[in-house]
Symmetry: C2
């Protein structure tokens, strides 16, 4: 997401007077937390007229004692992209009460440390959920109906030579197991219902008011599904959630679509299952060692490989930037945050 956000807006780069001789104390202080490789284009959508942005990676910052002192009194920190946010970082900014995330995933933030310190956290809310859900549906149909593979067949000039490409498999009537029924998972379910699919799901806890069958463990969900869609958060508990046993339970015709994080699947095992034909196919948007994708997959026609692009569209990025501003404004106005994260 980081560079996507960077690319989303003309990088204004109009450097802001962080170390102004007369600091505009009427503006609320906003700490910027980013990785060095993320550029300054956030300045084009976080208005300097509304916030005093304090960016420790800005060269002027470290040379300015007043900026450093302001940073210690800043009550809110905005993550640009997905920089790791650890206890160490938080120690440097003792006044932070609120961390505003700007991407959907929050695996870069030490959430339990935030909870321990009583820091509230917001994420991008629903800004990207629909985009991820749309892309997920496309990946699923693509794998079942072989869209990308048949596209290659046409472009290679094979159609007139070898004749009709094999038909794929029908989407309607399929049992779809969704792992992680949050905002994204719910939107995927809504879409797939319109195609006549049956939905069931796994998540940390059974959701009230959700009509779909709940499976307490992923193995049972896989046993009862034609396709597994993985869109849960990556945590210690979900690392390699999709292992050998789950893939065996899914079976030879089963399809996996992963739009969560690469490490939710034991990728080495997945590659073996796909190469041996022990599962039917996969639509993968994320990988354990991005941007490295296992080369064994490059030759497989039952696999769609996408470079972590389910995440967003330019339209959603504009909505996200609006969401970050809205959370900041709510925070400083002492109003309820727009998209707070529940810290367990």
């Amino acid at each position: 997401m980081s560079t996507s956000m960077a690319s989303s807006a003309e990088a204004g780069h109009h450097h802001q007077p962080v170390t102004n001789a007369t600091p505009p104390h009427n503006l609320p202080l906003v700490l910027i937390h980013r990785l060095p490789q993320v550029d300054l284009s956030y300045k084009s959508w976080l208005p300097a007229t509304k916030f005093l942005l304090l960016d420790p990676l800005d060269p002027s910052f470290s040379s300015s004692p007043s900026a450093q002192s302001l940073a210690r009194s800043a009550r809110v920190l905005v993550c640009i992209g997905s920089p790791p946010l650890s206890a160490n970082t938080l120690d440097r900014y003792p006044s932070v009460e609120c961390v505003v995330g700007s991407i959907a995933g929050l695996d870069h933030v030490d959430l339990s440390e935030c909870r321990r310190r009583g820091i509230t956290v917001t994420n991008a809310g629903d800004a990207f959920s629909a985009d991820v859900a749309d892309y997920t549906v496309a990946l699923l149909i693509d794998v079942l109906r072989r869209v990308s593979a048949s596209n290659r067949y046409v472009r290679a000039g094979t159609w007139p030579v070898k004749g009709e490409y094999p038909l794929g498999s029908k989407l309607g009537g399929k049992q779809i197991g969704i792992i992680g029924l949050g905002s994204i998972g719910s939107m995927i379910a809504k879409r797939l219902e319109a195609f006549g699919c049956s939905i069931s799901y796994n998540s940390r806890t059974k959701k009230p008011h959700v009509p779909f069958p709940f499976y307490e463990n992923v193995h049972d969900l896989a046993t009862n599904s034609d396709a597994l869609i993985i869109c849960c958060a990556l945590t210690n508990k979900t690392h390699h959630l999709i292992n050998k046993d789950v893939m065996s339970a899914l079976g030879k015709e089963g399809v996996i679509v992963n739009v969560g994080r690469g490490a939710l699947i034991d990728e080495k095992e997945l590659v073996q299952f796909l190469v041996r034909g022990d599962i039917g196919g996969a639509g993968l948007d994320v990988y354990e060692n991005e941007p490295i994708v296992p080369r064994e997959l490059f030759g497989l026609d039952n696999v769609v490989l996408s470079p972590h692009r389910a995440v967003a569209t330019p339209e959603a990025i504009l909505a996200l930037q609006e969401g970050v501003r809205a959370n900041l404004e709510a925070f400083f106005a002492n109003k309820p945050l727009v998209s707070p994260v529940e810290l367990e």
Copy 2:
């Protein structure tokens, strides 16, 4: 479709006693109409225990005067695949009252000649509509979100070298113009509504009970649409319906998805519009001279090329074969046909 149907079932090829010394006159006569290149696998799903199948392309047929005479008294003709069915052919079978089609499109049948003769016609009904609709949605998302193109990017090993692939465009909120709101078009509309799209449509006449805005001409629909989806029948009136003017009206960001027939679009113009970037992209499942696809399209990343595979899945073919049998049984039982076509 023809070879798809052929491939859908094990070709039994157990030759049936068309010229049996004692013809089983208790069985209803069913004329088979097919192209020579379509094989005999229909015999595996049109049961010889229920129908006496008369296939003029079967070598035994022409040598048997009794078969030829039976053919002249047959009241029903089944098209296997899409063989042309003209007045000349119908002249040879004067007793035919009903033509049973086995694919969704009926452009191979001279429908006005059938109407003139009082012959009823059935098509495959809804058996394939959902498959076409599913595939259409995948093509649309694929073009907008660049799924196939980014898949190529990954497989070419470019991701680690050149970095993030450009984000595509959001589906939600798009104005989708559907041309042809029959069974397939309606199913496409239902699906796209679940993605938050706005639907409008063009068809021969405004449909009662349809909530979507109706455009009497395609040009106005294009002007008011972000994407055009073409799923109407090919007739004299719809040949090259999508011409230069319509594409200009659709505009530089506009997307075309064609799952109808190739000749619904002026393909030469379409290629020019795509090459020049005068429309945004296209998802094409059909072409004017299949299986020949214009080579100029092979290098374009904003185009998804599919080899006429929206049409069906093995699951739907089984349903279709069931539909052909059901129409035959209804016909011989003097019951209403299952999927009659309205002949205007």
